[in-house]
Amino acid sequence: MFYRNVDEGKVISQEEISDGIFSLWIKNEGANEAGAGQFVGVYPKDKSTLLMRPISICETDKEAGSMRLVYRVAGKGTKEFSSLKKDDTVKILANLGNGFPVDEVKGKCIVLMGGGIGIPPMLGTAKALFGEDVHSYLGYRNNDTFLSDEFLKYSKVYLASEDGSVGVKGNVLDALRASINVKPDVIMACGPMPMLRAIKKYAEENNIKAYISLEERMACGVGACLGCVCKTVKKDDHSHVNNTRICTEGPVFDATEVDI
């Protein structure tokens, strides 16, 4: 599963699924090779915004040869993408990084955890694990639970919200602790850094294998610039220092290997 190219993506559809969160379907060559948890770099057309925007792949549709990107408008680049309409083209660097090791966890009790804009890549992961014993824990700020219905197609779903308006009041780990019958063998997660730190700690304390997807400001996306590194516990095989490239060795890491 290695496809790497600058693709001309054709927009199939785009809709705002929540306040400031957009769901964009594009048809591009790399879509069929994309794995759960990989990401793409989307290039803005505006020349004052130069760098690609790393956006996780939410899911793919192999029959249509398309991929879905669900992203939050955070600045000028994503603002531009939010105006893309059907049949527009968009340049993307696809596919980047290593995704979740879905083939290695089959037959186990798998817990997926997504927090906020870290939820989208977990949908494709749930889809890739369809038929397995999968439990998705999704953490939101409030009752705007974008994408949560779609997880129901592939997994059991447990919600948490910061304001307590839906599901368990608190975060995804509070929701996991509340569901006493779920005993995960493995956790796969994407979300804000405090959530990932807590999951790493929880997994280590409870002897659970955990894979976490990290993000960092990125320039090249292909491992050349060393902009997006993360501290590692041991010396990294590529860098020969205690730093690893999130875009290339990640974004998904075994939680015990990174120092976050």
Binding site: R4, N5, V6, Y43, K47, S48, T49, L50, L51, M52, L93, E216, R217, M218, A219, C220, G221, V222, G223, A224, C225, L226, G227, C228, V229, C230, H238, S239, H240, V241, N242, N243, T248
Partner: protein, 299 residues
């Protein structure tokens, strides 16, 4: 149509190369770019021992460019020779190894280790704005630059290119010092020191507070400095700073550069260097230029 240029006796099939730090050692981009088409690959800075670099965030976008404060993370010269240089030996392109250090001894140790490799030239990084010790300390005072150039030149078996910082009062003084100490060529400009503040969080965007600015917004500064240096020294100049297209490259050649390097553009368009090479060819055809050397320093 001739696109070959020669720098310090080393012939380049065309004048386009990568700017150090933006292209790894070519390996990272090899599936996207045919390295055989490039005039040279200039590798990411390498030091005598592995360097960890700076904390993150290390990069930030700014209007028309970007800031970086990577801090010269590299695996050290031993791994570099074994892995990166052997990889590059498979390609039909020149290899220029960028060398960094914290002391004169560091630079000398790295150069001595690299002397008997397939590297064609060494580019000496005395202008990285993102490391506290060494590096730029040698590139902002003419006497310090003379001293380190002289010492490296004495041990180097390959031609050396001193890479100059734009963060000086008069870059021609630096160019003259490098030339006087025996540097075979100079390259300029390294990045311009900048800063970005996140006004919502009231914090610096980069962990290092400052970073080096690159990208199309810095091009006019770079063209001006290349022109000034070309009029101050006789040694060849490799020009860089914001080159995005063949037309940009032609501008640098006309200002007096013998070759050009493409940096941030690689991030924006992985085939940027190929586009620059094709763009130069198109310019030459359109303007009936039969030899690229005709336009070097023509203004």
């Amino acid at each position: 149509m001739n696109t070959k240029v020669t720098i310090a006796g080393v012939e380049f099939k065309n004048p386009v190369m990568s700017a150090s730090g933006t292209f790894g050692s070519g390996m990272e981009y090899a599936s996207l770019v045919d390295l055989n088409k490039l005039g040279a690959v200039v590798t990411k800075g390498v030091s005598n021992i592995p360097w960890e670099g700076n904390p993150t965030p290390r990069v930030a976008e700014v209007y028309g460019g970007m800031l970086n404060a990577i801090g010269l993370q590299n695996p050290g010269v031993d791994v570099f020779i074994e892995r990166d240089l052997s990889f590059l030996s498979k390609y039909d392109t020149n290899v220029i190894v960028n060398v960094c250090g914290k002391s004169v001894e560091d630079y000398i140790e790295a150069v001595e280790r690299l002397n008997d490799t397939n590297a064609d030239m060494f580019e000496i990084n005395v202008s990285c704005p993102n490391v506290k010790e060494g590096a730029i300390a040698f590139g902002q005072k003419a006497d310090a630059l003379f001293n380190i150039t002289d010492k490296i030149k004495k041990v180097s078996k390959k031609p050396i290119i001193m890479k100059l910082s734009p963060n000086v009062t008069d870059i021609t003084e630096m160019a003259k010092a490098a030339e006087a100490a025996g540097s075979d060529a100079i390259s300029l400009i390294n990045t311009i020191t900048g800063m970005k503040i996140d006004i919502e969080r009231r914090k610096f965007v980069l962990a290092n507070k400052t970073g080096g600015m690159s990208g199309p917004a810095i091009k006019p500064v770079a063209v001006r400095m290349v022109y000034q240096c070309a009029n101050a020294v006789k040694i060849p100049i490799i020009g860089m700073g914001g080159i995005m297209t063949g037309e940009d490259a032609v501008e640098f050649l006309m200002a007096g550069a013998t070759a050009v390097a493409v940096g941030a553009a690689n991030f924006i368009n992985p085939s940027a260097m190929i586009d620059v090479i094709d763009g130069i060819d198109n310019y030459m055809r359109k303007h009936n230029v039969s030899d690229i050397n005709e336009i070097i320093a023509c203004v």
